[in-house]
Amino acid sequence: MVVEKNHRPRIPALNTKFIVLILVSFGLLISDQKNNYLSILRNSITIALHPIQATIDFPQRLLYWIDNTFSERNELIKENKILQEERLVNLQALQRFDSLVQENIRLREILNASAKLNDNVQIARIISADINPFRHIIVIDKGTQNNLYNGQVIVDTNGVVGQILQTSFLSSHAILISDTDHALPIEVNRNGLRTIAQGNGSYDRLDIPYIPNNADIRVGDLIVTSGLGGKFPAGYPVALIDKVSRNPSQQFAYVSAKPTASLNQIREVMLIDKQ
């Protein structure tokens, strides 16, 4: 009889390995959902993956650079002219802004309220990377290296974009206001009606779910951050109301709004430092 030496089963210890690893990943799942114990692990892997993201982003950056460098002279002149005009309009608006700031500070002093109108701002670039298909999450090219912190608010030139979800050393993940898991405290700019706006998973719509049927809200109203909740500074534009339908049989009116920031087209964002 021939006895085979070194006989091993075809797949060694498959079941044990499977059970151990499945338990480990289940444990990871639960602890990651409930609290933040795993952020160190996640951060270190994110740093290791950073070169990959940078590589993917490189071609787009290169294209952008080529586009900038080799654009036509008259195009540049045209752009310059437009920018000059914009600047003049902005300067004119700023003249009034200065006096309004002064007035505001005076009024706040009368009310004994603390005045804080200037926020520190950093500019960050969005790394073109396709993150989580189930959620609206972006990656930006600044991290704890640049003193970013979790919950920091992100805006673009037109309005609120979102907030930082996770920082790592070189990059950060940020959640957009259109994510289904995101809600922010807002008020109607015209009359100060306060409520919250929820993302509904599409880039060009926010739901405003808790508006009573008799509330004073109209299509075209600008909604701004109310500053309640302490995360978002007050007064940044969020969205324009684009649909109001009142149904007496329902408890609340159906109201939706279109974000003023074009959430799926932004390239650069500004980070507001409140600390």
Binding site: G27, I52, R135
Partner: protein, 167 residues
């Protein structure tokens, strides 16, 4: 070629392909294709666990799963969990799967992809993340369509210790 050399060369190819699959996962696609992005990493894992289950099984699935989780910002362990279940199934059935005709095998792969996306859907549901149905159905379709090409391509890159006839 000695068995040791063969193992090393397979390990190297698997490492490089793993990296490439993660890069492919992160690369953004144009909007109309965005919902149809195949699960590159999973397809690679299925191939490895069907054809070389001795060398690549649970450990590979777990590591790749964690990498995908971190790079996509999903719950840590979500993809690892789903990958492990799929690889358990495919490596248990590898002797049958690799002898199936291509069409039949592709049909099975389609079922496996459905199961995989059901697991992701389930974990998302439990943790309260809702998403459109297209982000689950799209990858199943594209993965099934691409499987014959992927399995043929990958087949040229790896060295098998036993030929199909012998096992």
């Amino acid at each position: 070629m000695s068995a040791e050399n063969q193992k090393n060369s397979n390990k190297l190819s698997a490492f490089i392909l793993g990296l490439i699959s993660i890069i492919f996962t992160i690369v953004p696609l144009p909007d109309f294709l965005a919902n149809f992005k195949p699960d590159w990493t999973l397809l690679l894992l299925i191939f490895l666990s069907i054809n070389i289950p001795k060398e690549f099984n649970m450990g590979t699935a777990f590591i790749l799963g964690i990498l995908v989780d971190v790079s996509q910002g999903t719950l840590l362990g979500q993809h690892a969990f789903a990958f492990l279940l799929v690889v358990f199934l495919t490596s248990k059935l590898h002797l049958q799967l690799r002898n199936y005709p291509l069409l039949q095998m592709t049909a099975i792969i389609c079922l496996i992809l459905m199961m995989y996306h059901f697991i992701l859907f389930w974990i998302n549901g439990v943790s309260g993340i809702s998403s459109s149905i297209y982000s689950y159905v799209g990858p199943v379709i594209s993965g099934t369509v691409l499987w014959p090409i992927i399995s043929k391509l990958l087949g040229t890159l790896f060295l098998y210790s036993t030929s199909k006839e012998k096992v």
